[in-house]
């Protein structure tokens, strides 16, 4: 068995034009199929979690439901509001869908394979800054949502659009910062290089012991991974962060006034974005298309040929399951809490973590062994001292219920006394007494209606 061959940037420059076209078509088809699948997957999983059948009518076990929905949508009546800005109203869904598709161009699906006699990588293209391309696509994609909200000429969509722009820009900052740790560790911003860097852990010497660091950045850079996962949910407008389209507050959010094919494009873009952030997470943190660790020791060819496509798909589907699980479990956050969480928790934590990681790298690379130990011990002492000497918040005195009632200001809402005995309602007693003879079989308890608590 030949081992997996990692593509270099040169591999992509050598691609013949028709191979590029085939790969382009392949990415397009994969995205459409995955979207159709994900919609059904989501509906079925959510249904299962809510103990109901979910879609089960169209096709085998209901798996063609999203296909029929997709075919139906473009043929529905298109309603354009009178106050809409026609041109922008038309462009907005196109921007949204286009950016969603474009971001997938740099996702690696697999190693170099032989396709129609040509050696080519299972990835449309790669550039030295491909992860930044994904971020650029995401930031242009926000325009689709914002412009849709504005161009509809209606209040709810405008509010939804403004919310989404604020939300997505804030969470894009956290997301971009969580990439920084990956860039520093992998030494590259190209997706194929990052997958390659996660191929095997390099042995590190810690206190004289040879320790192999885990190769997946999800383990090695756990804080970045966690922050990425949270900000990815915010970035894709999914529950519990689905404030731009909060049904209970904004009807449908930015796409309230959209119908027919234009709505279908937004729908498509949302699901593709979900798949994209899962694929990015797979690439950056979960080792990309490579098989998980124990599999390769048993089966050496797991990473060769077209097999990696399967590992990639499995990882992406597991991450998508996470999205669906969140949606089925968590209630929506309040907007101000959500923004505070993004700016005051995720970003500062991320910055401190990057600083720490950079420090560790500098110590590892440059300091001699003696300085290294002194530095590590010194930092640990400082951190411990800060943790020990940090002024703890003054505990609020525990008031008893009586004291709390006493402390209430004059004119507060009247509360009943704590030892209030509510006498049984005479009407209830009568009702029980009248009902009692109707008991059929068993012991009759109609004799002591007064004991009945109603």
């Amino acid at each position: 068995m030949i081992l997996a061959e990692d593509p270099t940037l040169q591999t992509f420059e050598n691609d013949v034009w028709w191979i590029v076209l085939i790969k382009l078509l392949g990415v397009f088809v994969v995205l459409l199929l995955l979207t159709l699948f994900t919609i059904n997957y989501e509906r079925k999983v959510v249904a299962r979690m809510a103990v109901r059948p979910g879609p089960n009518q169209v096709g085998p076990k209901g798996w063609l439901q999203s296909l029929t929905d997709g075919v139906k949508l473009p043929f529905k009546e298109e309603i354009i509001p009178k106050t809409a800005d026609k041109v922008v109203y038309f462009i907005a869904p196109v921007i949204s869908a286009m950016c969603a598709f474009t971001a997938f161009a740099v996702i690696p699906f697999g190693p170099v394979v032989t396709m129609f006699g040509q050696r080519t990588a299972l990835q449309l293209t790669d550039v030295p800054v491909s992860v930044l391309i994904v971020l650029a696509c995401a930031s242009i994609g926000i325009y689709g949502i914002v412009l849709a909200g504005w161009a509809s000429g209606s209040t709810y969509p405008l509010l939804g659009g403004l919310r989404s722009s604020a939300q997505m820009i804030s969470y894009e900052v956290a997301m971009g910062l969580s990439f920084v740790a990956v860039f520093m560790t992998a030494g590259s911003m190209s997706t194929s290089e990052i997958v390659k860097a996660q191929a095997g852990g390099d042995p590190q010497e810690i206190f004289g012991m040879e320790v192999t660091a885990p190769s997946w950045y999800a383990v090695l850079l756990l804080p970045s991974f966690v922050i990425y996962c949270i900000s990815a949910v915010g970035e894709t407008n999914r529950a519990p962060f689905d404030l731009p389209e909060a049904e209970s507050e904004l009807v449908g959010g930015f796409h309230t006034e959209y119908s027919s094919f234009k709505f279908a494009l937004f729908f498509l873009a949302e699901y593709i974005n979900m798949i994209t952030v899962s694929a990015i997470c797979t690439t950056l943190f979960l080792g990309g298309w490579r098989a998980p660790a124990p599999i390769t020791t048993i089966w050496a060819g797991a990473n060769s040929g077209y097999w990696p496509l399967m590992w990639w798909l499995v990882k992406v589907l597991i991450l998508l399951f996470g999205f669906i699980w969140l949606r089925a479990t968590l209630p929506r956050l309040r907007y101000d809490q959500f923004m505070r969480f993004g700016w005051k928790v995720l970003i500062p934590v991320n910055l401190v973590w990057i600083l720490f990681l950079a420090g560790v790298r500098v110590i590892n690379d440059e300091a001699s062994r003696g300085t290294r130990i002194i530095l590590i011990v010194g930092i640990a002492t400082v951190v411990l001292l800060i943790a020990l000497l940090w002024p703890s918040a003054k505990k609020a005195p525990q008031l008893s219920v009586e004291e709390q009632i006493q402390a209430r200001p004059q004119g507060s809402f009247p509360v009943p006394p704590l030892d209030l005995q509510v006498p049984p309602s005479p009407r209830a007693r009568r009702a029980v007494a009248e009902r009692a003879p109707a008991t059929v079989g068993g012991d009759s308890r109609g004799d002591e209606p007064a004991d009945k608590e109603v």
């Binding site: 800005d85 922008v88 550039v127 030295p128 800054v129 930044l132 391309i133 971020l135 650029a136 995401a138 930031s139 242009i140 926000i142 325009y143 914002v146 412009l147 909200g149 504005w150 000429g153 405008l158 659009g161 403004l162 722009s165 604020a166 820009i169 894009e172 971009g176 911003m189 200001p409 004059q410 004119g411 507060s412 809402f413």
Partner: protein, 257 residues
């Protein structure tokens, strides 16, 4: 584009693809700039500027500066223009230009000042780049595009970089200080205070009657009826215009056979 042209001359050739991309993107960038100036609607203006910025981003990528191109799109197009758009949308969608000049002769002065500024930038750049010899993109990108930029940014231009960031932070903090309103503890109303206000004379403590109650329609535009049969105007939203159906609207549509 001076640097590009110089670099291209240093390389000795401009490939056909690069020339095509330049003429198409360049024309598009100019169209975007003109559209930005000429568009009546402020949001349309901003969108034209987005087109120009995207073209500039692509230019950077074509000129072997992929990092700069990506950053241009992420930071300028994605974040800064988005904030502009944010403000413009909040201002209102009908805020198009008024044609009345409030400042006399401001157009002439604006054109003159614009030309003067362009001349200033052009001569400044020309003098700065006069003695510079182009080394070519291959040499500039020798350690890798990102690494080369990082090397320059954090060694030779580190002071300029830090001063710029200090300027930006000062501006941001200043804006926050100007816009922030500190609310004291005494301004916050507690439950008792809110309850007093609710039951104060002149305010109606119970919830408003829902629209359409006791009426023969479910429309939100129909006022609710009070127990005495009169209509409660406060049950319908103020933004809904009161209107009667016109004769053609009330006439049968011919859909029922």
């Amino acid at each position: 584009m001076t640097a590009t042209v110089l670099a291209a001359e240093a390389a000795g050739r401009v490939s056909a693809g690069e020339a095509w991309a330049f003429w198409i993107l360049g024309a598009l960038a100019v169209v975007g700039a003109l559209g930005m100036v000429l568009a009546r609607n402020a949001v349309h203006s901003a969108l034209w500027l987005v087109v120009t910025m995207l073209c500039l981003g692509f230019f950077y990528v074509i000129n072997a500066a992929p990092f700069l191109g990506a950053v241009q799109i992420i930071v300028y197009t994605g974040a800064i223009m988005m904030l502009f758009l944010f403000v413009l949308m909040l201002v209102g969608r009908d805020a198009s230009d008024s044609l009345i000049e409030t400042l006399r002769g401001q157009r002439v002065v604006a054109v003159l000042l614009g030309l003067g500024f362009a001349g200033l930038v052009a001569t400044g750049l020309g003098r700065a780049l006069d003695g510079t010899t182009a080394v070519g993109l291959t040499e500039a990108n020798a350690p890798g595009n990102v690494q080369a930029i990082a090397g320059l940014l954090f060694s030779r231009y580190v002071l300029a970089f830090e001063i710029t960031s200090a300027l930006l932070i000062t501006a941001a903090v200043g804006a926050m200080v100007l816009a922030h309103v500190e609310r004291g503890k005494e301004d916050r109303s507690d439950q008792v205070e809110r309850m007093r206000q609710r039951f104060a004379p002149g305010s109606y403590p119970a919830p408003k009657a829902g629209p359409g109650v006791y009426a023969n329609t479910m429309s939100v535009a129909v006022p609710a009826r009070l127990p005495d049969g009169s209509q409660s105007e406060r049950s319908i939203s103020k933004i809904l215009p009161q209107r009667e159906l016109t004769a053609p609207e009330a006439a049968p549509k011919g859909t029922e056979k």
